[in-house]
């Protein structure tokens, strides 16, 4: 692709010395297009911040190359990279007011004082920090410092914006409000941004594509929708989505026109062979042992279905989360009506073949999504 802006190839980050090494990022490759918003999504310690710091130039790249706009960054000093960054720990300059902290980022630009002041005000309005502009960082809350730090990064005219958990300290309402504004601002200004977050809702709402990371490895890099519909492996399947995907270990068998998944405790799921494409069945049979995954909202009640016993039922105000036991394993259902079931009740459920994901039990890689084999 010609519009690749940031190109990360086979990058490793190893901290420390040979005898006490931390391998934080492993063989990371990803290509980000100009104007794209990308999220790095993953649990704490999975290497998100390390990745950003290598791009910004605060950490050396142990292996591989990072290119921005066609130029190799690896040995370029931070000052030469033209990258803006909002830090996880805010990192405002204590002696300066919030206003000066934000305006400071524009000092290197050739803007007039009036233009700088206007820009700072627009930014402060957007981030709801106009009333604290003349205070010092130490006398405002963490959430306010965080927004100031985000403003200091966003206001710059850089080739790439790196935002490390920029809204982690904000209350949910404000976060939801700012999400929309920030996305609008980024798109309007043609900014290419990489956002680090462990909040799925934030990643879904803001990003064009999400890079799911775990243990230093990139698990999958896809649009939010495809990430949900076509998880590349068991990790992304269970990590993405709230509540998480239900999974069952199963062995696969075929009898005339039926394909059967045998779970524990003598429970079987039986489908018509026509529910799946022929190569899905072939691949599953070849594996014998698979993991099947189904999202909570794709489990439907059916009087002819399998019996499950309710463990708990919570009404969240707009949906019911029902936890039940099926084949000795716990399974979660999401329903949009208020379900009447109580703990101990039996319910009968059915899994829709269109919503079944089959994974290789050994490797964790996806075999099929619904009727379709993974290419």
């Amino acid at each position: 692709m010609s519009d690749i802006h940031l190109d990360i190839k086979q990058v490793d980050k190893i901290y420390g010395t040979a005898n006490s090494a931390v391998h934080a990022v492993k063989g990371l490759s990803m290509a980000v297009r100009r104007g794209e918003i990308t999220s790095l999504l993953g649990a704490s310690g999975c290497g998100k911040t390390s990745t950003l710091r290598m791009i910004a130039g605060f950490e050396t790249v142990s292996k591989g190359t990072i290119k921005l706009g066609g130029k190799v960054l690896n040995d370029l000093r931070p000052v030469k990279r033209n990258v803006a960054m909002a830090f996880e720990g805010y990192s405002l300059y204590p002696p300066l007011t919030i206003r000066d902290n934000i305006a400071f980022a524009l000092k290197a630009s050739k803007l007039s004082a009036k233009d700088i002041s206007d820009k700072v005000h627009t930014m402060a309005d957007m981030l709801e920090i106009t009333d604290i502009l003349d205070k010092h960082p130490s006398s405002v809350s963490g959430g306010q410092q965080q927004r100031a730090s985000l403003g200091r990064a966003l206001i710059r005219d850089a080739d790439l914006h790196l935002l490390d958990e920029p809204m982690g300290q904000l209350e949910p309402q404000l976060r939801a409000l700012l999400r929309g504004r920030i996305k609008h601002y980024i798109k309007e200004n043609g900014i290419t941004a990489i956002l680090v977050t462990h909040d799925q809702a934030e990643a879904n709402a803001l990003s064009d594509r999400i890079a799911v990371m775990e243990g230093g490895y990139l698990q999958q890099f896809e649009s939010p929708q495809r990430l949900k519909d076509q998880p590349a492996n068991l990790f992304t399947g269970t990590f993405v989505g709230e509540p998480p995907m239900n999974t069952f270990s199963a062995s696969v068998d075929k009898e005339s026109d039926k394909v059967r998944f045998d779970l524990d405790h003598g429970v079987s799921l039986s489908f018509d062979v026509t529910d799946f494409s022929a190569d899905v069945i072939e691949a599953a049979l070849a594996l014998k042992s698979v993991v099947i995954g189904v999202r909570p909202y794709a489990i439907k009640r059916d009087d002819d279905g399998m019996k499950a016993t309710v463990v708990a039922n919570h009404w969240l105000g707009d949906q019911s989360h029902i936890a039940a036991t099926l084949a000795g394993q716990s399974v979660i259902l999401v329903e949009h009506d208020r379900a009447p079931d109580k703990a101990g009740d039996d319910i009968f459920i059915k899994l829709d073949p269109d919503n079944i994901h089959v994974f290789n039990r050994e490797t964790g890689y996806a075999v099929s999504h619904g009727a379709e084999i993974v290419g």
């Binding site: 000052v79 990258v83 960054m85 830090f87 204590p94 290197a108 010092h136």
Partner: protein, 285 residues
């Protein structure tokens, strides 16, 4: 703060008073001595009933010491000037060398950096006499004996480790991300050091400088061995008051008062800095 009972407050007050008396009484007594003649000082029993006189101070400033036996020349003002010059120059040089070094040690961990830093600190552990003999021989050879330059050099043994270690701690307390934030906005590491790191560590640098100044000022042994009378600081110069016709207690006391005055003034002035440094607690990222 916890609520204190009345008894506790009183006991605490008494304890504080005892400490203050213990530390301040000698200084107070010396101040009184500096206003008396040798005769009234040596009275038995001592009394605080005396006619105050400024003769001791006059002798120091004019440089004429009248004893019962003879009149001799002393060079107290020259000594005082030497003290000021040696301390200021030593601390300045130590700051110039030590602050960038402290920054490097705080920010760049490389193989052996801890060892180097510790070696520098270990200069403080060695008894001065250990290095003095070889040093005085070297200094004779190199023509550094009895020069300001030589003394300032040796004073680095006192000042440099102190500044290095204190300032390093202050730099380490500044989140590197604050500096990164500045660098990523298009500034070189040197301007980051100057515009961000130095001002943020300012109170710490001031404190370290003050401490180093006091240590340098109070040093006795280096100057005693390595310099002659006209280069010696007050600490050594005070020896001149032990004369053939007895010890000139009054003038020694006046000399002490005059020689602690600058450090005392400096400490009082810098106190403000130190408090500021502590209340600027938001430095950490």
């Amino acid at each position: 703060m916890e609520h204190q009972s009345k008894l506790e407050t009183v006991l605490r007050g008494i304890a504080l008073l005892l400490v203050v008396v213990f530390f301040m009484f000698p200084i107070f007594w010396i101040f009184l001595m500096s206003l008396q003649t040798n005769e009234t000082i040596l009275r038995v029993p001592p009394s605080i009933n005396f006619e105050p006189t400024l003769s001791n101070y006059r002798a120091l400033i004019t440089g004429k010491l009248e004893t019962s036996a003879a009149s001799l020349e002393i060079n107290f003002l020259q000594n005082l000037w030497n003290s000021v010059f040696l301390s200021v120059a030593s601390v300045s040089l130590a700051l110039l060398l030590g602050v960038p070094a402290a920054y490097a040690f705080a920010r760049h961990k490389f193989k052996g950096s801890e060892d180097i830093a510790f070696t520098l600190l270990s200069f403080r552990f060695a008894p001065p006499l250990l290095v003095l003999l070889p040093l005085s021989l070297y200094f004779q050879k190199m023509g550094l004996a009895d020069t300001y330059l030589g003394l300032i050099w040796v004073y680095q043994l006192i000042c440099l480790p102190l500044i290095l270690w204190i300032v390093r701690g202050y730099f380490e307390d500044i989140s590197p991300d604050i500096e990164y934030a500045y660098r990523v906005a298009g500034h070189s590491w040197f301007s980051t050091f100057r515009k961000i790191a130095l001002p943020l560590a300012g109170p710490g640098i001031a404190a370290a400088g003050l401490l180093a100044f006091i240590f340098a000022w109070n040093n006795f042994i280096f100057a005693l061995v390595l310099a002659s009378a006209d280069k010696q600081p007050v600490t050594v110069g005070a020896l001149a008051f032990i004369t053939a016709s007895g010890i000139q207690y009054g003038q020694i006391a006046a000399a002490i008062v005059m020689s602690i005055a600058p450090t005392l003034a400096l400490a009082l002035y810098a106190q403000k800095y130190l408090v500021e440094g502590l209340s600027l607690g938001a430095v950490k990222g």
